[in-house]
């Protein structure tokens, strides 16, 4: 059965006829996927929020108010960041949620963020880190293994937290770990940057979609998989309506970025969940080798992970799929000679007393 949340996202008007019990589930499923504010705004735009039972309506409204607060806070943080990057002589490039919100894209309606993701060139990442530190963003205290792991093998420095305001920055120099399979030319991301507001830039439209897709399908943990798929759905819908030849441009860019498979997967699951279909020739162009066979495996994993994590909608073998995706994500991001020692180390620490209560 289709989860009530998916039904409401697809057809907001369907929410108007839900029973009280179904409304309880709708709010729970939306909250658990971080989509409560987004759905609230969608229901409001469709004119159905007013007609919902007030007990449910107040939860949508509350979530929208909390998200508006986040938007105000983000604007304030960006004003500080713009000054830092201006002094540094580098562009301030936002990724993901912060970029969607700053640019006012459709997918930013009700979009929550947990941190601000930034992109800088690999050559300037050390200078950027020092400037951010003098502006109050301090490295989170962590052990040297984690610190080295981030810097040596990941595509980012350890998260920076502002000492008085608590805002969290994730500073990246590319959009996938350099150890992951795709040979992604990070320098070419900078060729297509788009201004968002004065002093703030974002990736080009195609790169924005590709980054979000790569992130989603190379992840090892999925706290809000459906929300990320919703991002994809909104980005694809908006860009394909606004940008001429968008689908062709997207497919061509995926080739340059070596991200054809994650894009194909994203298009597959966006279509499956939200009935948004790209032209068939674009799909054919992106189609990975042995797609039919591999789709059995992919569907097993992703049909489960795109369900809201709630007992009303979880499929059998959900936990198995989660575990397999955890291993898959790591295996995709690191070659085995890095992965095995890393997992062994993490696994041993998980048993030890050092992470008590973590």
């Amino acid at each position: 059965m289709t989860p009530v949340l998916l039904e409401a996202l697809r057809q907001p008007r369907s929410a108007a006829s839900l029973s009280t019990a179904a409304l309880t589930l709708l709010v729970a499923q939306a909250r658990t996927t971080n989509l409560l504010a987004a759905l609230g705004l969608r229901l409001e735009a469709a004119g159905v929020l007013e007609d919902l039972a007030p007990e449910a309506r107040r939860h949508f409204r509350s979530a929208v108010l909390a998200q508006e607060k986040q938007q105000r806070d983000l604007a304030y943080e960006l004003s500080h960041l713009a000054r830092v990057f201006n002094a540094l002589g580098e562009p301030l490039v936002l990724l993901k949620g912060a970029a969607y919100i700053a640019a006012g894209l459709d997918c930013s309606r009700g979009r929550l963020i947990s941190d601000i993701d930034l992109l800088v060139t690999e050559a300037s990442i050390d200078r950027a880190e020092r400037s951010l530190q003098s502006a109050g963003w301090e490295g989170v205290k962590q052990d040297t293994y984690d610190d080295r792991y981030y810097r040596r093998w990941m595509h980012e420095i350890p998260p920076l937290v502002h000492r008085s305001r608590g805002s969290v920055l994730d500073v990246h120099h590319t959009i996938l770990p350099p150890t992951a399979g795709p040979r992604l030319p990070a320098e070419r991301l900078f060729e297509e940057l788009q201004p968002i507001v004065p002093g703030v830039q974002g990736l080009g439209a195609e790169d924005m979609v590709l980054h979000s897709a790569a992130h989603l399908f190379y992840e090892s943990e999925f706290p809000h998989a459906l929300r990320d798929l919703w991002d994809q759905r909104c980005l694809l819908l908006q860009f394909s309506e606004q940008i001429p030849d968008f689908w062709d441009r997207l497919a061509a860019r995926a080739g340059i970025m070596d991200l054809e498979t994650p894009l194909w997967l994203s298009l597959r699951y966006v279509d499956m969940h939200f009935a948004i279909s790209p032209p068939p020739e674009v799909l054919a162009r992106l189609r990975p080798k042995a797609a039919a066979l591999r789709s059995v495996w992919w569907d097993f994993l992703f049909r489960r992970i795109f369900r809201p994590d709630h007992p009303s909608t979880r499929l059998r073998f959900h936990a198995t799929a989660e575990q397999l995706l955890f291993v898959r994500g790591h295996a995709l991001r690191m070659p085995p000679w890095l992965l095995l020692p890393h997992l062994a180390r993490k696994g041993l620490r998980r048993l030890g007393p050092a992470t008590e209560g973590a």
Partner: protein, 292 residues
């Protein structure tokens, strides 16, 4: 396995579904929540919460975990703290989710002349005062959340058992030998905690909002002057905003809501050491000449 506990209760404006497989929770829930109105089956459930056992670490104590919407939000706790964790988790649900109200971190008590809001830092004695007043004929609206409807001077009742700590438990037990308490929960991060049943007032479960008559900032001082003194609107506004859960989240609406509440509502500092004296001060506030 059927859960030892599964009930849907009306708590203020909300409905909680409370479930647990821990048999030891059945007794305190029955004694402290037994008189609460039950929700009809098919009611909208605002907060679906549970306490479940989790695997013990080798050599470690038995553990339990609070879940909301069937999801973990916090690390497991020692199982002997399960009931306090349930209470704390039920508060957390309101603290982080409900922005249809301006939520002050405050106790709220009332007589037929209106409600008195008691904002304060932990340790200022607001729960102790709520307990004393509740056992002396006052109605307790909450010992944790003052739910203020923006644009009004009204608070919505959300009565729950009062959480008392350490010496406050002894004080109330000494003054009211027949008071009904939940189990004492020792060695929490706040010391010993116990929950008092304070719903003697016939209107305890009436959901209708109550107009705020005064705002009192309590301060318990074991060896100090006792006094009830008028407090300036400005400093009352700032302190109440500082102790609010969602003042800044609400933005300008939060400012307007706070201004509407404080404008024309008399505000006081209350320093006390003697419970009987404090009760007289509240009776004075409830009686009459305390209008702005």
């Amino acid at each position: 396995m059927a859960p030892a506990l599964d009930q849907a209760l009306r708590i203020g404006p909300y409905t909680y579904r409370i479930r647990s497989e821990l048999p030891e929770l059945a007794a305190p829930v029955a004694s402290l929540y037994g008189t609460f109105p039950k929700a009809d089956s098919g009611s909208y459930i605002d907060f679906d919460v549970s306490l479940s056992p989790v695997r013990r670490r080798p050599g470690g104590p038995a553990r339990a975990i609070f879940r909301f919407d069937h999801r973990d939000h916090f690390a497991p706790v020692e199982r002997r703290h399960a009931f306090a964790t349930l209470e704390w988790g039920m508060n957390w649900c309101v603290s982080v989710h409900c922005n249809e109200y301006l939520k002050l971190h405050a106790g709220v008590v009332a007589t037929e002349t209106g409600a008195i809001v008691l904002p304060g830092v932990p340790g200022a004695g607001k729960s102790t005062l709520c307990a004393l007043l509740g056992l002396n004929g006052w109605r307790v609206l909450s010992d944790e959340h003052a739910l203020v409807t923006p644009g009004t001077k009204e608070v919505t009742p959300i009565y729950r058992p009062i959480s008392l700590k350490n010496e406050s438990i002894t004080l109330i037990e000494t003054l009211h030998g027949d008071a009904i308490f939940g189990p004492p929960i020792v060695d929490t991060h706040k010391g010993t905690v116990s929950h008092l049943k304070a719903d003697q007032h016939p209107d305890t479960f009436d959901p209708a909002p109550v107009t705020v008559r005064a705002i009192v900032f309590p301060q318990y001082r074991a060896d100090g002057e006792q006094q009830l003194a008028r407090r300036s609107k400005t400093s009352s506004f700032l302190t109440a905003a500082y102790h609010a859960f969602n003042y800044s989240l609400l933005g300008t609406a939060g400012f307007e809501a706070m201004r509407t509440l404080i404008d024309g509502t008399p505000c006081y500092d209350l320093q006390y050491r003697d419970p009987a004296w404090a009760l007289r001060a509240f009776d004075y506030l409830a009686r009459g000449d305390a209008d702005a």
